[in-house]
Subunit: 187 residues, 2 copies
DNA sequence: GTCGTTTATGTTAGTCACTAACATTTACGC
DNA sequence: GCGTAAATGTTAGTGACTAACATAAACGAC
């Protein structure tokens, strides 16, 4: 029985359409379910919470392992930066209109932006663990992870609201900005 | 009539105590109110939402103005970094046990960490506006702001969960980490 | 095909964070 | 004391969930 998947897709499609039309907060779970001829309970059986219709990025161990692979004599921030860049190149995420529509909804909705940040807490924790296991002190690890992931999220949201350019370009640019030297080049 | 302020303080004190004892999520608004001999409605008249008992940092225009004051030939990230450092030095936030207790609750509660991030969205927007008005492109502005504020929040949370050291030390360290050169020092 | 067992969905009732409308008490100026 | 306004209470309702139990639809074994 793969009807379950089908129902889930129908619910998601209806939800995204309604979110776009009338906003995330103004759309109730009941309304989404009704749109598909289903009961409210059924909606919550397929999505543990309303926000998971939009935010369902699974934790990706690629990121932390790419960071672990960086040369350990590099500064912490640089290790995280290069690791994330490498992970992106290794597996670029889908860069289509559906994704962009999803991100646009997130960008427009403060509540969702917050939950998106909460969502990558597990990624952040994994990165911190890798660094700490490499004898980086916890504060530095947390700071580097937060800064890089903050930059990444900014790039993602910017891509979502803009209508041209690829996500990859923006991510590359965001991470490059973190590598800028403090003054004019050295001396 | 300044009874209002008094009631608010009683509610806040009771809430923080309960949050520490049994966790934020396990504590209901009704319980907090009852602890003070008040009705649930009264709680919500003093705090627009449960999280505002813990998160009530007002927007501080000091940050964006300190950033605006940086030399414009510096790289964007560096301008934000130095601006935030200057703002911190100009007005260090309270560094007492009450504050630390509050931050500890936030650090322990994913939902609150997310809302704390959402909370500084207005600060982020103000920083971005300043930079954009200085002819920085929007993406760079967003990325620099997100990275620096992410680092700042990481420092704050780390301070909250640890039991020694000052917040100022951690903030200085967090922002210093963002200035590290990519390779070994120049040549 | 029928039967029985999953699997998908429905129903009902309940909790918790709120909101709105209206009633009541409490404090304070006079 | 008396009137007004601030502070609080009460009731009713919404929306995101959760749990328990009931039904319907699908699928395999026979």
């Amino acid at each position: 029985m793969i009807k379950k998947q089908l129902t889930k897709q129908k619910l998601q499609a209806a939800a995204l359409r309604l979110f776009q039309e009338q906003g995330y907060e103004a759309t109730t779970a009941e309304q989404i379910a009704a749109e598909c001829g289903l009961s409210t309970m059924t909606f919550f059986r397929h999505f543990p919470s309303k926000d998971k219709v939009v935010l369902d990025d699974p934790y990706d161990p690629m990121m932390s392992s790419a960071i672990a692979a960086q040369r350990r004599n590099l500064p912490v921030l640089e290790r995280v930066r290069r690791g994330l860049l490498a992970a992106w190149i290794a597996l670029p995420e889908p860069d289509n209109d559906d994704q962009r529509a999803r991100v646009r909804i997130i960008a427009r909705t403060p509540e969702l932006r917050a939950k998106a940040w909460e969502n990558n807490a597990v990624t952040r924790a994994a990165i911190v663990d890798v660094l700490v296991s490499q004898d980086v002190d916890r504060l530095s690890a947390e700071v580097a992870a937060a800064a890089c992931l903050g930059a990444l999220e900014a790039a993602l949201l910017d891509w979502g609201v803009s209508s041209e350019g690829t996500l990859g370009e923006r991510i590359a640019m965001a991470l490059a900005l973190l590598a800028q030297k403090a003054e004019a080049p050295c001396a």
